[in-house]
């Protein structure tokens, strides 16, 4: 009974599916007007059709989606599906050959690479697409704090800081002024990134949980966090860099990642990874699938040009420097695969 119904559904499905395809081709001719620079590649892209399947990091997910949205105006017949179960789960699907592209907020691990190669996913192109940076802020009036190390941040905002009322009480050596903490809540990707980059190693060393103190005011809205930081002269808070850099009446605190250098967050220092609370965002392309499917090639062509310029900044990340963009484009054009 059950398979019989499935079959009947599927027959309907395939019949209608081909209909759908015809509709798409007929509508494609009239909508190539929305291209960006009118170059040849965009004209070519307009005639491309097919499916692109992307999975992986939920941090990179918005970039890939935004690129797909921009690409849709150029190539309306390409259907891009993006999912964000996480970097590790994404690689699992990618290595099984289920997806064309894998989003990643870290580089591929050797074990993951090995499982890809085992399954015959041999030709993988690794492309850096943007940088995720997090800014630590205080009120513009607070000049007493020159620089914060990861240890100090962990002491101030980590679980050991629970209940402390002043900067000095949480981390000896800092001024004895009231400590008012503002930051994103657990539902936020910025929250997760902050914990991963700043807290995880220290928490393990100190035998504590890699989480924040619970007695601060979390908010999902960056503007609310900003208002909180502005409201107190001795506040401490953190948001994504792309948001923080445009904020008024706050001071971005330089951060020492453990090598003794205090680095101020700037687009350059983040894009070059000198600023310690930053991490590169990657996409991994299955080159064999790209070779077989012009839709994937066209999408990545668009990704490494318009995507890197426009989409990365639009969804709140730091775009690559021009040199890094050129490097990504070079890698893609040369189809440099990882080994």
């Amino acid at each position: 009974m059950l398979p019989a119904i499935c079959v009947s559904f599927l027959l309907l499905a395939s019949a209608c599916g081909s209909d759908n395809g015809d509709n798409e081709t007929s509508s494609s001719s009239g909508s190539s007007d929305a291209s960006n620079d009118g170059s040849n590649s965009n004209d070519e892209a307009a005639s491309v059709s097919g499916n692109v399947t992307i999975s992986g990091s939920s941090t990179v997910e918005p970039i890939s989606i935004r690129v797909a949205e921009l690409f849709e105006d150029v190539a309306p017949d390409v259907s891009v599906t993006v999912d964000g179960p996480g970097t590790g789960d994404g690689f699992k699907l990618f290595c099984e050959g289920e997806t064309d592209i894998s989003d990643a907020s870290r580089q591929i691990k050797d074990t993951e690479k090995a499982s890809c190669f085992e399954n015959g996913v041999d030709n993988i192109v690794e492309l850096k697409v943007g940088v995720d940076g997090i800014a630590v802020m205080t009120s513009a009036a607070n000049t007493a704090v020159e620089c914060l190390s990861f240890e100090q941040l962990f002491a101030l905002i980590g679980p050991a800081g629970e209940g402390t009322k002043t900067w000095g009480e949480a981390s000896p050596g800092l001024p004895d002024t009231p400590l008012d903490v503002f930051g994103p809540g657990e539902e936020s990707g910025t929250f997760d990134s902050f914990l991963e980059i700043v807290f995880e190693d220290l928490a393990e060393e100190q035998g504590l949980e890699a989480t924040t103190r619970t007695d601060y005011s979390p908010s999902g809205d960056d503007n609310v966090i900003l208002q909180g930081i502005q409201s107190s002269d001795t506040s401490l808070g953190w948001t994504g860099f792309a948001f923080a850099v445009n904020a008024q009446n706050v001071r971005l605190i330089p951060v020492d990642g453990g090598d003794g250098n205090c680095v101020e967050p700037t687009p350059d220092s983040i894009a070059s990874n000198q600023y310690p609370i930053s991490r590169d965002l990657w996409i991994y392309v299955n080159a064999d699938k790209a070779a077989a499917n012009p839709a994937v090639t066209a999408y990545i062509d668009f990704y490494v040009t318009e995507g890197l310029k426009q989409a990365v900044g639009e969804v709140g990340y730091v775009p690559l420097t021009d040199a890094a963009q050129a490097e990504t484009q070079g890698r893609w054009n040369a189809m440099e695969t990882i080994s």
Binding site: P3, L10, A13, I65, E69, S79, V80, D221
Partner: protein, 320 residues
């Protein structure tokens, strides 16, 4: 007779309590307790509805049409943001559940109640069905993942298209099947035996008896049960995530009646709500969109319920 059993003292006590105008304090207290239980329930519902509606106002007042026809987007300010793909998924999951779970479930219930002999084996089966109704939905999601998406056993993934609306619908049909069997069984059990005996008495066969007496009498009860299971299926998110519902971006935005997309990747209203709620951490405008999607899901379930209630009333009139 009574006067002999009840002595004078008892008689005067009873007479006293009947004649007196004593205020029944404890009774009034009990009544107000019951009322406050009802008021509390309604209050929680009201708070929920008011907060959801106010949160969603920016989406459903200004751009309802766009919101209903739009798709998953990367930014909440995008004019193309909307729930159409979610409605498509939920609608067809509901249809597949109705097509698969209802006939199979009601059929199994008819057999268990009307045909199967009452012995240890059938009561063992009934206990198992009740247990199945209590199994967490994630487990059914894993079952769907293994059999329908990965095709571990019969290679069914070739029929369902893997991570598709079809797989999701079948998974949820299996999920609600035990509930449909149990509630239909209860409805059949509530049919008075006199009806069955009457039918036999005028020479009906068992099939005729079930068709003309049991099914019409039990129909309203069956509908109530199937309705509840349908609402459950449409509201489930956890098994859908396992079966591969898309949270980020779905390439196509099929028309509501486009059967061709049933074997494609899918999303559903509960998934859209979950995804947007998570994204509100990155882009706060998604909170309003998530609230809007909740309103759409509520209206969706409401429409389904009223259809079922309408049907039930028709059956009840026939029965009356």
């Amino acid at each position: 007779m009574i006067s002999r059993l009840v002595d004078d003292r008892a008689r005067s006590a009873i007479a006293g309590s009947i004649r007196s105008r004593r205020v029944d304090v404890r009774g009034a207290l009990f009544r107000s307790l019951l009322q406050s239980a009802l008021v509390l329930t309604l209050l929680i519902l009201a708070v929920l509805l008011v907060s959801v509606f106010t949160d969603s106002w920016s989406q459903i007042s200004g751009r309802l049409g766009d919101f209903l026809s739009g798709t998953l987007r990367s930014r909440s300010s995008d004019g193309g943001l909307g729930v159409h793909q979610g409605i498509y998924g939920s609608l067809w999951i509901g249809v597949i559940v109705a097509v698969l779970a209802f006939p199979i479930g009601i059929g199994a219930a008819v057999y268990l109640e009307e045909y199967a002999p009452r012995n240890r084996f059938t009561s063992f089966i009934e206990v198992n069905i009740r247990n199945l109704a209590g199994v967490p939905s994630v487990v059914y999601g894993l079952l769907g993942l293994a059999i329908l998406v990965n095709g571990d056993i019969f290679g069914l993934d070739r029929l369902t298209g893997g991570r598709s609306t079809l797989s999701a619908g079948i998974t949820l049909a299996v999920l609600v099947l035990p509930i449909v069997i149990i509630t239909s069984g209860e409805a059949f059990r509530a049919v008075p035996n006199e009806l069955r005996e009457g039918a036999y008495g005028v020479g009906a066969t068992r099939w005729e008896m079930i068709r003309t007496q049991v099914l019409p009498y039990a129909a309203p009860g069956i509908l109530t049960g199937t309705l509840l299971s349908m609402a459950r299926a449409v509201g489930e998110a956890a098994p859908l995530i396992l079966v591969g519902a898309v949270t980020g971006r779905l390439g196509d935005n099929p028309a509501l009646l486009d059967l061709g997309a049933l074997a494609d990747r899918f999303t559903a209203l509960p998934i859209v709500i979950t995804s947007w709620t998570q994204q509100s951490g990155r882009d706060v405008g998604f909170a309003a969109a998530a609230a809007g999607a909740i309103v759409v899901l509520l209206v969706f379930v409401l429409i389904m319920n009223s259809a079922a209630i309408g049907l039930r009333n028709r059956f009840e009139k026939k029965r009356g």
